[in-house]
Symmetry: C6
């Protein structure tokens, strides 16, 4: 009746998750440089370990990086690549207004489901949000924190394997909570920080024509910047609303404001 369970209990779980997954993958991943490739490689190594090892049937990894650097999308992409029979995302979106106890139960349910499949992947997205963390105080749900601390240490039942991918913008906080060290590995997700990375992102869209791209390359060459891929995509979308003649100027202005780009001589 294991086969039975697989068909009735696990497949549907995956099914519904699959739909949920598409959402996080809808805008796609632009490979704008080395930092992106490295995350994917580390992901693949951990997938291999989760699949192969007998002594470490629980593999846990934390994707950490600044807000909007692409952590959730990368976690979803790695999980999809792994192609495990059970994949589930544990996200604050589905727990708005939940009591601490309800949150714990919902999280525990996801892990209990995962333990039933021979090979599972659970994404714990936006951990600081799951913890109701706010820097004033600071305040957070200790009940949820303790649940996660324990769940990150329980090996799955004999014969099962589990890969857990967590994401956070506050590695510092997770360290203070003694959670960061509980993960088997920590992988850094970077903001875009060089003009080359920026041009690489722009190449992937049709916002500017060839000539404009050359202007942009000249204007930004050698400059330092600091912006998450998520925000960059928003700025590009704002620029798109502007009439053609002003678009490049507006884009550079927005970029200067948001990306801490040093002096732009236009």
């Amino acid at each position: 009746d294991f086969i039975h369970a697989l068909e009735n209990d696990i497949k549907p779980a995956f099914g519904s998750s699959k739909n949920e997954f598409e959402k996080y993958l809808s805008n796609g991943i632009i490979n704008w440089g080395d930092p992106v490739s490295r995350v994917m490689e580390d992901g693949n190594l951990l997938i291999a370990q989760a699949k192969a090892s007998q002594t470490t049937p629980l593999v846990t990894v934390l994707l950490e990086g600044p807000p909007g650097s692409g952590k959730t999308s990368l976690a979803a992409t790695i999980a999809k690549t792994a192609d495990f029979p059970f994949i589930k995302i544990c996200s604050p979106e589905n727990m708005i207004g939940f009591t601490e106890t309800a949150k714990c139960q919902a999280i525990k349910k996801i892990f209990d489901d995962a333990y039933k499949s021979p090979l599972s992947c659970v994404i714990i997205d936006d951990i600081e949000r799951l913890l109701d963390y706010v820097p004033i105080g600071p305040r957070f749900s200790n009940l949820v924190l303790q649940a996660l601390l324990v769940l990150l240490k329980i090996p799955p039942p004999h014969g099962r394997k589990l890969l857990v991918i967590g994401t956070t913008s506050r590695k510092d906080v997770l360290k203070e909570m003694e959670m960061a060290s509980t993960f088997s590995a920590i992988v850094h997700v970077s903001n875009i920080s060089t003009a080359d990375h920026l041009m690489c992102v722009l190449d992937n869209t049709e916002l500017f024509n060839k000539e404009e791209m050359q202007t942009l390359q000249r204007k930004t060459a050698g400059k330092k910047l600091w912006i998450g891929i998520k925000k960059l995509l928003v700025l590009m979308e704002m620029a798109r609303q502007i009439e053609d003649s002003h678009r490049i100027l507006k884009f550079l202005c927005l970029l200067e404001e948001e990306a801490m780009l040093d002096i732009l001589v236009l």
Copy 2:
């Protein structure tokens, strides 16, 4: 049955909101200068983006400025201009004495309703009040804060678009709570700070006659002041109760007290 939903679920929602809206628009907007125009322009650009973009179906903007500077009225005006099929205001007025949980549910309900319409606008008015914020402590509802932090990041379902307009007098607090940075854009709403702006407001009412207006212009020319449009309207109304001969004097006295106007030589 989408058409059906539109007719039964969304239209009425809008209907009742419309009545509620009139309330916030009843005194009208006086365009007393550049700061007012700029807010309206930024509003229009964001409406355009919300309508057009496919990659950023969620557009969020924060109107921030001193108490009584006109944030709520401007938010309502922008939302009305947008003329989306679904508009709803989420205001502390309707949640007096609510528990944290009840507040969360009420807020979530508004967003869930918005997700059902192809094009929606939600105003989150007076965010610090929704959060039960008080500077002593400080104290605030972390449950409501976390709900808003999550709701400001969830994209609407495939094919739907959502414009969220928040208002606050405490941008500093929202920054500390890591909420300010969650908005796609932040727009500043100004107090009245020059004599020209003041005269422009007075021009729009029939409180003083031509001669009095000239006196006022002479008395205030070149002075610095600092007053919100809301308070200014109250002072004008107080002055109106005074008999004609003393009105201008009383008005200048009140103004000096409330608007930090520097030395008034009468």
Copy 3:
């Protein structure tokens, strides 16, 4: 059926309030000097505004002054002078041992009732007590605070007018809570601070005979003192229990102790 409501719902509300009101007015108001007259004048101006204005249908005023300076009695007197169809006092007396939630509901109920009358006056007495404020901590009911902050900003429904009179001994605390600035106007209620004011109060009672009054005038002339009218009336009553010959001496002793009167040479 508006007429019906007026007769059934509002009149009785006023009726019971009227009885309650007599209580606060039973000892009467002694006009012991300019500070008293000024409070009454300001009160009258605000009554006029509340009655006349269309653009500011909500007028709110805070009477603030030291403990026992006569705030509650003056608020009740102003409300009586206004002679509005609906008057209600919202006082901690009626909420002893209430939970925060029950307090909020009771307060909200008073405002909801007021909104039904075309012209209403609500007294929010002893705000720091309504808030369960204690300087140790400090502690207070944030739920009640937030309810008041919101209620002080909601304009009454179209066509209705509302005058709100608050009283407090802790303007400083209300400022910290960002509540003081929510009022349209703030009026100061003074302690008795000169010998003239004192003699004026004594003139209004028959505690001392003519000769004694002259002695008292001589003894106190030019002295500074600092005492609330409420405490002064208690001291006078204590002195009244003393036999005739010692009364004036006892009274001066008590006064020196309680009123920080500088050196009394007897």
Copy 4:
């Protein structure tokens, strides 16, 4: 039916209180000196005021002094002297393990009962204990505090008079809580601080014989000491257990230890 109420509701209340009262009076009051007489005189003046005055139908007095100085017994004695138709003691003894809300209700009930009698006396014993006060934190029941703050200000209904006697060992704390100033009068209860006072207490008992008394007088003459009457009575009782020959020595030892008496040369 007022007469009816008096007979059915108030008399029994007094009856049961009377029994309770005997308890606090069982050991009697030793008038060991001026400080004791003065408390009784002040008490009598306040009783007179409570009975006579029309403008101050509520008289409140706080008996404050070190632990064991005799506050409760003196309060009970004053209340008995007053001989009012309604007397009730509100004491933490009867509220062990009560929730804050239950405490508030019990206290309110006592006052509500008192309001029904034309002339009433309520003792609020050991206020810091009623407040569940502990200096660590400090912590206390704000709900009970707020109830007391309000009850100490409400005048009894028209035609009724009420004397409230509070007792506390922590006047400083009650000041911080802004409760001390709410009382019409504050009366200090003293510890025994001179050898004369001590001898006066010993005179009232048969613990030592004439000769021993002379020895004690010689040993203690001119010494400073600091002890509450309650503790002194315990030490005397301890000494009584000792065989005759050692009793006076043991008593002086105990006294030196507990009463901070300066160097005893035996």
Copy 5:
């Protein structure tokens, strides 16, 4: 029916307590020196006072000393010596996981039972544990604290007598909580601090033979040590597991580690 109550209600209460008592007395008391004798003497004096005095029917004593110094056993021994018709121990053992309210009720029940017997003894064991005290914060149950503070002051009903024995390792904390001063007497329980005391304990057991005892005496003579009798008995038991030849060495090692004994030259 008093006799009836005695037979039905009190005797069984005592009966069950007796069994409980045996537990605390099972290892016996070794009179290892003066400090032990003095505690027993003080105990006897207080028993006498509790039995004899009419004016102080409530006698309360606090046994305080370091952890494991023998407080609980000594309290039980004193209570047994007293041989009162009602003896009850109020210990945290029987209240694991109790809510604050449940604890208060359980404690109050013990006192209420005691009030029914003419002569009773109540042991309040391990007060800091009853209070759920932890130095971090510090945290403790204020509800239980307040209940104890009140119970330690209530005299038993007319004609009844009550001896209360409290034990604590944290006299300092009880002082801060203003509880220590509520006891009629405070008695110190000492750790073992001299070699003589140590030898006296060893003399009472058959752990070492005569020769070994002489070696030990030589090794420890004149050394300072600091260890509770409870811990010392554990170390002796550990040494007993070691084979004969190494036992004395192991014992001295353990002693040096745990008892802060200064340099042991072996």
Copy 6:
């Protein structure tokens, strides 16, 4: 019916525990050096004491050491060695999302069960997790703490014996909570800190061939390192995923990163 109880109540309890135990023992214990042997010896001594002694029927020991140093596995191994009729592990794994009260009850249940067997062993695993401890604040469940503090002091009923083994990574915190000193003995579990210990662990697996082992020995000889056995096993498993030629290099890199190994010259 004692035999009956043994068969029905205790055996099954042990049975289920046995399965649970296998889990903690599945990876086995590698005796990589002296520190491991010493823990096992101390364990055996305590088992002997628990079995033999009449005066100390309760023996409690705390295994403390850095995260991942092998505390849980060693505790389980000692418990298994003891081979007592009743063994139970009290672990946070089985209490995720439990309320404080539920946790207390679950813990108390385990001890109550243990008291029924003549010879029992209870492991309290990961005490800081059972306490919901987090260093921010710090916060923890005082209810659970107090329950443990009491349970660690209660001797089992007459004739029964109990060995309690606790584990923790935060001895410092347990000291602050005054829990560490409640244990009869404290045993330190070490991280791997010398190259010899490391080589000893590698010898026990087939990850590297003879030649590679020699290279590793040369590279690490005389270096200091600091790593828990648990983490080391994970690194070895990661290295196993790498192709043969790079494995040794990858392993040394990982080791350098995680084990604070000083300069590795490759």
